[in-house]
């Protein structure tokens, strides 16, 4: 089914890429530089190997598999991708060796595009709920999303619903001061749903376009999380009936295959719209989102590429695939 030698990106994606190219091409460049720094000595080896070989043989494919695994794509997904390349190779009888990377990029893009692609930022008023485990960067991501919305002329309000972690409220408050954003908060230990309630009331009264809710991270207390998110959801239903709602799962790009388990868990407890992949500015490649797209059909929406509020880009599958392959 992947018979065409080159799968062009769909029109919509090209438009998105073009749009993103304007302001955020610098950030994609940064991302690519980050990835290039490690530039998988492996893909270099792979290229060297390919140049000497007449056909794509098992050794080449094994190296390809290793390269994918090293990018955290996961064993199963890597095997499937390598298998696709193997089939390609058979079809072209190894004639197209130098296009191996291009083909790999194609297959990766297809996997990433296969997940349903929801509208990135819905029209009208929006409630954005950020969920995720501890330490992935939810609070910083909340600030980045708020900055993005604000710089697009929207009126934004932050809701400090992580009342659990020490100083989480203070952290979000510092951001709200730096970015000159409104914030609704209560004291530590308060009921997160009550914070959301207050935030939505304030939002309606002040004519806010987007409410961004920072929730507490947790690894284990799944039951509490379910109850808490359920309650927050009910509050939103009641207090903001006409609003669009997004639940964004924040994942840490350095996380390995555990991210799949995290995504599965949150999908089970909350209606997750998509993923924000944070901390992709290091050497980690975040390949696990490929496995997540394949296994859970959960799309990636944004990439967090640095510590500044502007360091957030829209996810473009093909560009990500290119950056991954190097």
């Amino acid at each position: 089914m992947f018979g065409r030698s080159k799968t062009g990106p769909p029109a919509g994606e090209e438009a998105a890429a073009a749009e993103a190219a304007g302001k955020s091409s610098g950030l994609w460049g940064k991302l690519k530089r980050g990835l290039l720094m490690t530039h998988t000595e492996m893909f270099e080896r792979l290229e060297a190997a390919v140049q000497d070989r007449a056909v794509i043989d098992d050794t080449t494919l094994e190296m390809l598999e290793e390269a994918l695994i090293a990018a955290d794509v996961g064993v199963e997904t890597s095997l499937e991708l390598v298998d696709n390349v193997r089939k390609d190779a058979r079809r072209f009888e190894g004639g197209d060796l130098l296009k191996l990377k291009e083909r790999m990029t194609d297959h990766l893009s297809i996997l990433l595009l296969d997940a349903p692609q929801p509208p990135l930022e819905p029209e009208g008023p929006v409630v954005t709920l950020l969920v995720g485990v501890n330490g992935v960067g939810k609070t910083t991501s909340a600030a980045k999303l708020a900055f993005r919305a604000k710089s697009r002329g929207k009126k934004v309000l932050l809701a400090a619903a992580d009342t659990f972690r020490a100083a989480a409220i203070e952290q979000l408050t510092v951001w709200s001061e730096r970015l000159e954003l409104e914030i609704v908060k209560q004291s530590a230990g308060a009921d997160p749903a009550a914070v959301v309630f207050d935030a939505l009331r304030a939002a309606r009264a002040r004519g806010v376009d987007e409410v961004i809710v920072d929730t507490a991270g947790r690894l284990h207390t799944k039951e509490n999380l379910m109850a808490e998110l359920g309650k927050i959801k009910r509050v939103i239903d009641r207090e903001a009936p006409g609003w669009s709602r997004r639940t964004i799962l924040v994942l840490d790009a350095t996380t390995g295959q555990n991210a799949v388990a995290q995504a599965r868990e949150f999908l089970g407890t909350a209606e997750v719209t998509g993923v924000l992949l944070a901390k992709i500015d290091g050497t980690a490649k975040g390949g696990v989102v490929v496995a997540i797209a394949r296994e859970l059909r959960l799309p990636v929406l944004y990439l967090g590429v640095g510590e500044a509020p502007a360091d957030l880009v829209e996810f473009v599958p093909r560009r990500f695939a290119e950056a991954l392959v190097g």
Partner: protein, 440 residues
């Protein structure tokens, strides 16, 4: 922890046991599966390669193929190699000095601040007199977070008063202050940073040179994927890292990073964070961890935990009562309360060997809530009722159900279970108890 890896490896061994003799093909297949299991658990692919090669060498050297009990032999080899990979003997934290300085460093979000608090609590429990030093002047509200963490473990926190940006000078001064305050261990919480951020890495290097810590610990998130190796290598290359603390090693963490990080840095894993509570920090024992990964359980750690958490007078009293063949609902309630002090039951059960009587038992299936309901029922009884629950009549049962928010059926069930337990206690021989305590 290590659940996925545990299951996969046990599957491999089960298959091997099924083969009376092991041909080369079967061995190759087993090694392939071990490789896959490790890769899926996020162990670095290079570490996996070396590991599998070592197992192959050993297996060939020890003539597993000709052996009559090949499976056991493979398990033994894998166990030994795993323990070696994790660092064989555990190396405890060094805290000597006046004060001993423990510097925590790592990527953003790896859990440094929480770990700093846990570490302070851990040292206090050992009779030490720690102090926390806030050196994270980067992240918004990080100093405030450390202050709150410090408060919850009742440990003072030194933080710069004005907007000082000279971390190095501040920390050096704070250590002197700690000495003057008579504190014997200073824990320095540094800002999270990317290993490719040259500026911040240089700053960290300067800090380490200036204060020359007793321990420079790299704090790593156990959920890290293949990149764990890169960041660990970069940190230990730029700084004289003397050990590792693994955090978030609980839940469904695959923990592959544990295996890789030690291998690439050559530095021992000193401590592991195993939960969200401030007491959830454990010393790391490579051999026990290897047993745990292979599903052989970690009874030693469980006993140590029990010794720390249980009220020994209370336990002795219970043992005496059991020896006298007495067991009332009051005893059961005390027992439940004691057990809960040790942490979630599912976590305790996961430390037990997976074979034997617990074969096929899923620790996550334990319903903690049910145990709480049992406690509530017992709490709603009068003392005479607790001593003789078999004498409960219908009206008493209804009263207890109302009082505890449960149902009469649940009370009946408890009474039935109590009868069975009593029978067991009565029929228990002295030697059984000794055996159960690990003696016999």
């Amino acid at each position: 922890m290590f659940d996925g890896l545990q299951d996969r490896l046990q599957g491999v061994f089960r298959k091997l046991k099924g083969e009376g003799r092991v041909s080369r093909e079967v061995l190759d297949g087993a090694l392939r599966e071990i490789r896959m299991a490790l890769l899926e658990a996020d162990v670095n692919y290079k570490v996996v390669k070396t590991f599998v090669e070592k197992i192959r060498e050993q297996a060939e050297g020890q003539k597993v193929i000709e052996s009559l009990t090949p499976a056991q032999q493979v398990v033994k080899i894998v166990h030994a190699e795993l323990a070696a990979l994790l660092g064989d003997k555990g190396e405890p934290l060094r805290t000597k000095g006046s004060p001993g300085v423990i510097l925590l460093c790592g990527l953003q979000g790896s859990g440094k601040t929480t770990t700093a608090g846990k570490l302070a609590g851990h040292l206090k429990a050992q009779g030490r007199n720690p102090i926390l030093i806030a050196a994270d002047l980067q992240r918004a509200a990080a100093v405030e977070q450390l202050r709150q963490v410090g408060k919850s473990v009742d440990t003072p926190v030194l933080a710069p008063e004005n907007e000082s940006r000279d971390v190095v000078a501040f920390v050096a001064g704070a250590i002197t202050q700690a000495r003057e305050l008579g504190r014997d261990v200073a824990i320095v919480d540094t800002a999270g940073r990317l290993h490719i951020d040259e500026e911040l890495m240089t700053e960290l290097g300067k800090l380490v040179t200036r204060v020359s810590p007793t321990e420079t610990l790299f704090v790593a998130d156990a959920m890290t994927g293949q990149d764990a190796v890169r960041s660990a290598q970069a940190f230990s290359g730029a700084l004289p890292v003397t050990g590792i603390i693994l955090t978030k090693l609980d839940g469904d963490t695959r923990g592959g990073a544990a295996l890789s990080v030690r291998a690439v840095t050559g530095q021992p894993i000193r401590l592991v964070g195993v939960g969200e509570k401030l007491g959830d920090l454990e010393e790391f024992h490579p051999d026990r961890m290897a047993s745990r990964i292979l599903g052989m359980g970690d009874v030693l750690s469980l006993i140590e935990k029990a010794e720390q958490g249980l009220d020994s007078a209370e336990s002795r009293r219970l043992a005496e009562r059991l020896a006298k063949r007495e067991f009332t609902l009051e005893d059961l309630r005390d027992q439940l309360r004691q057990m809960r002090k040790l942490g979630p039951l599912s976590q305790l059960m996961s430390a037990l060997p997976k074979g034997g009587p617990l074969k096929g038992f899923d620790p996550s299936a334990i319903d903690e809530k049910k145990l709480k309901r049992v406690e509530a029922i017992i709490d709603s009884m009068t003392s005479p009722e607790r001593r003789k629950p078999t004498a409960l009549n219908a009206s008493r049962k209804r009263r207890i159900a109302r009082g505890s928010g449960t149902t009469v059926q649940e009370i009946n069930q408890l009474v039935k279970q109590y009868r069975m337990m009593q029978k067991m206690v009565k029929g228990m021989k002295g030697s059984w108890l000794r055996k159960a305590m690990g003696g016999g």
